[in-house]
């Protein structure tokens, strides 16, 4: 393993629903520098995917309110987006829609 590689971590990503269509896959492994926060990781995903993917994830600087983000199968609270990711973490991105009217 080179010095460069040791400064990278690999994060697993699962895309759901239309995000899988935009990304062209349901699952991916993405290498990012050690210390990358979840917020920075999502920005990286926006950079490496087609433009409509960005629209599905965010409006301006804000994540879309209907985007549900999981880290290791737990919903990420707003204050936890700036926590650094770890090697082997799994991030799930879910455009959440629910039922209808009552």
């Amino acid at each position: 393993m080179t010095a460069n590689e040791s400064r990278e971590i690999v994060v697993r990503v699962r895309y759901f629903n239309v995000l899988a269509d935009y990304a062209g896959t349901k699952r991916a492994e993405v290498a990012v520098p050690t210390g990358t926060t979840l917020r920075a990781f999502l920005n990286h995903l926006i950079e490496i995917n087609p433009e409509p993917f960005r629209r599905a994830l965010s409006r301006g600087e804000m994540l879309n309110s209907y985007l549900r983000v999981f880290r290791n199968e737990r919903v990420v609270a707003p204050e936890d987006f700036d926590a650094p990711l770890a090697e082997g973490d799994e991030v799930m991105l879910f455009p959440a829609v629910a039922g209808g009217g009552v």
Partner: protein, 647 residues
């Protein structure tokens, strides 16, 4: 002890009895009790508009208490839309008033010789002449009965029908508290057939709530408010769904020819909020998802409680209508005439597709997609049964038979009830739920939200770990039956308690054990699992009602469009010139629903045979042998038959 009242409008008699405790033990309340009473009283020889049909208004054990969202009443009847089991359910303030007047159930049968209304007071009621109300809109009827002080005055609460119900329009609703609707399946038409215009309730009693129960109710209310999953509903109401549904292809448009619209910026929550004057909520609700909308001037000047999501899609994208002012005005007209907004929008979309394909025209209206004048004009004609409105007033299933040609291909219904506003080729669990619902196409019979909402935490609480990964994927059909069945049971419990699904199956903020805690504090010893068993019993009883009416597997199918016409999902993009949202390139091969395998697994998990009939063993397990006896032969080889692979 609360009462059941039996009102015979033919004879004018009213009988009171204490509600049978055994009935409550087996069926809990509201929806469960209504189902059992209908099963007993309205058999196969009774047609929906016969005097012998019943309208059974029921409340639940939480009605009239401080339990969060305990605002809903249930009305059960033989449906003029499906000619089988029917019910509708509404929030507002009418149900708590009926419960505080001391009634669990109000059974209306017979037919009055001339228009009447019921006036309910504490543990009593009277049948009064309503000639002066007949022909009035629902708002005018409320105003007449409540007086100048309206809903804030001392004259209680009202539910009523409008002109559509009086004319037995099969998609007619009951409207209560000015703007809430018990709409699905044609209860307004049944009420009209009885010459019953309204029920006014004025109670002076208050629920005697124990300190322990009040504390649990407060805890649950706080949990609903604190749950981030309800935040969208609390800020924007159900129209918060419109934009993400458009992105995922789950926004039915042009009579389900599309799942997205290119004009989303015109009809999303942001656009509709421009007309929102204030937020509204039902009794005891911390979510408050409703709204008052006003179009201040112009040809669409109007004011209405709404529109919520289903109405917005039905009268908007389904009809290719991009004008939010038309949606609001059309919503107001439906409420005034007393029409189901879902069925009305779907029926108008059906008419527009018939016109698109050259088999329907109208001397006054263009019937072109998106034409606001045609939408408004058809609502008027349907409500009055004028011209083609008389045909469309029958609902899409019957209208297609009358019009002929291939129009049945464009009639979006299951069992005769028009489809609610989900796209089955994308929201596959909802597709199955629409099909299996015993009241006809219905998103609220199962409300299988867990996958489309990405509610992983709840999935892990309910389902075996080994199926969760596939169950949570909206695109994977394999375990959608598991999702639908759990939802059907929990929805039945929710309806039986008289509470709103926005506290339970929409977001799963409250779980069955939470509801059981509340019931225990009111002296009903039960567990969450026990509640779900009652839910299963209710669903099976409703199924038996329909089997007795001649229904079978053939009645559990969606329109052919969803299994044979691929739906193409398109990318959502920003137009660089205008900044508006537009639809771009196709994203994947067209989607179809693989339906039969889902239905097979659904029946197998339920303990039903391949034709959808509960087996002997299932009925015995649920304590329904008595109800099942004599309907069909339940000793069938399929009890030991393999219906397909179960993973």
């Amino acid at each position: 002890m609360a009462l059941t009242a039996l009102v015979d409008l033919s004879s004018g008699s009213i009988r009171y009895s204490e509600t049978d405790p055994a009935l409550k033990k087996r069926f809990l309340g509201a929806r469960g009790i209504g189902a059992r009473i209908l099963f007993d009283r309205v058999g196969t020889r009774v047609a929906p508009f016969d005097p012998e049909n019943c309208l059974i208004f029921t409340t639940g054990p939480f009605s009239g208490t401080p339990w969060p969202t305990a605002s809903r009443y249930h009305v059960t009847f033989k449906s003029p839309a499906t000619n089988a089991y029917g019910y509708a359910n509404a929030g507002g303030h009418w149900a708590p008033e009926l419960a505080r007047a001391g009634f669990d159930a109000l059974i209306v049968t017979g037919r009055a010789a001339s228009p009447v209304y019921l006036q309910v007071t504490d543990r009593a009621m009277a049948i009064l002449a309503a000639d002066h109300l007949w022909g009035l809109t629902t708002t005018a009827t409320h105003d007449q009965l409540l007086g100048a002080e309206g809903r804030r005055g001392p004259n209680g609460r009202v539910l009523c029908i409008g002109p559509a119900g009086e004319k037995r329009v099969r998609i007619a609703a009951i409207i209560n508290d000015y703007g809430r609707a018990a709409a699905r399946g044609g209860p307004g038409a049944v009420m009209g057939s009885k010459n019953l215009k309204a029920i006014q309730v004025r109670a002076s009693q208050r629920d005697k709530t124990s300190t322990a129960f009040a504390a649990i109710a407060r805890e649950m209310s706080k949990r609903l408010i604190d749950d981030p999953k309800t935040s969208g509903l609390r800020t924007d109401g159900t129209v918060v769904l419109i934009r993400p549904k458009n992105m995922t292809g789950d926004l039915p448009a042009k009579n389900h020819q599309f799942g997205q619209v290119p004009f989303i910026d015109n009809v999303d929550a942001h656009a509709l909020n421009r007309y929102r004057v204030k937020r509204l909520g039902c009794a005891m609700c911390p979510v408050r998802c409703s709204r008052l909308s006003i179009v201040p001037d112009g040809e669409n000047a109007s004011a209405v409680e709404g529109p919520e999501y289903e109405t917005t899609d039905a009268l908007g994208p389904m009809c290719w209508n991009c004008n939010p002012a038309v949606i609001i005005r059309a919503n107001q007209l439906c409420n005034q005439y007393g029409l189901d907004t879902i069925s009305t929008g779907v029926t108008i979309a059906f008419a527009m597709e018939c016109h698109q394909r050259g088999v329907l025209s109208d001397p006054d209206l263009s019937l072109e997609w998106g034409d606001g004048a045609s939408i408004v004009g058809l609502i008027e004609k349907i409500a009055r049964r004028e011209g083609i409105g008389d045909v469309l007033a029958e609902g899409v299933q019957r209208a297609a038979k009358i019009i002929g040609h291939d129009t049945h291909e464009w009639a979006m219904h299951v069992k005769g009830l028009e489809l609610p506003r989900q796209e089955p080729r994308i929201a596959k669990g909802f597709g199955l739920g629409h099909a299996t619902s015993n009241r006809g196409a219905d998103h609220l019979y199962a409300l299988p939200t867990i996958d489309v909402a990405g509610n992983l935490d709840t999935a892990r609480k309910i389902f075996p770990a080994e199926i969760v990964e596939r169950l949570i994927d909206p695109a994977d059909e394999t375990y959608k039956p598991d999702l639908v069945i759990y939802g059907e049971h929990y929805c039945a419990v929710t309806d039986a308690l008289g509470i709103c699904k926005f506290s339970t199956t929409e977001e799963y903020s409250l779980m069955p054990d939470d509801l059981a805690r509340g019931l225990c504090a009111r002296g009903v010893e039960i567990t969450g699992a026990g509640l779900l068993e009652i839910g299963e019993r209710i669903v099976n009883l409703e199924r038996l009602y329909n089997i007795r009416a001649g229904f079978s597997r053939a009645n559990d199918y969606l329109p052919r469009r969803f299994t044979h016409e691929p739906l193409v999902l398109r990318a959502s993009e920003t137009d660089p010139a205008t900044g508006a949202t537009r639809l771009g390139a196709p994203l994947r091969a067209g989607q179809l629903l693989k339906f039969d395998a889902m239905l097979d697994r659904y029946y197998q998990l339920r303990g039903w045979d391949a034709d959808g009939r509960p087996t002997n063993a299932t009925l015995a397990r649920l304590g329904l042998r008595e109800e099942g006896s004599g309907i069909v032969c339940f000793v069938i080889p399929s009890e030991a038959r393999t219906l397909g692979s179960v993973e």
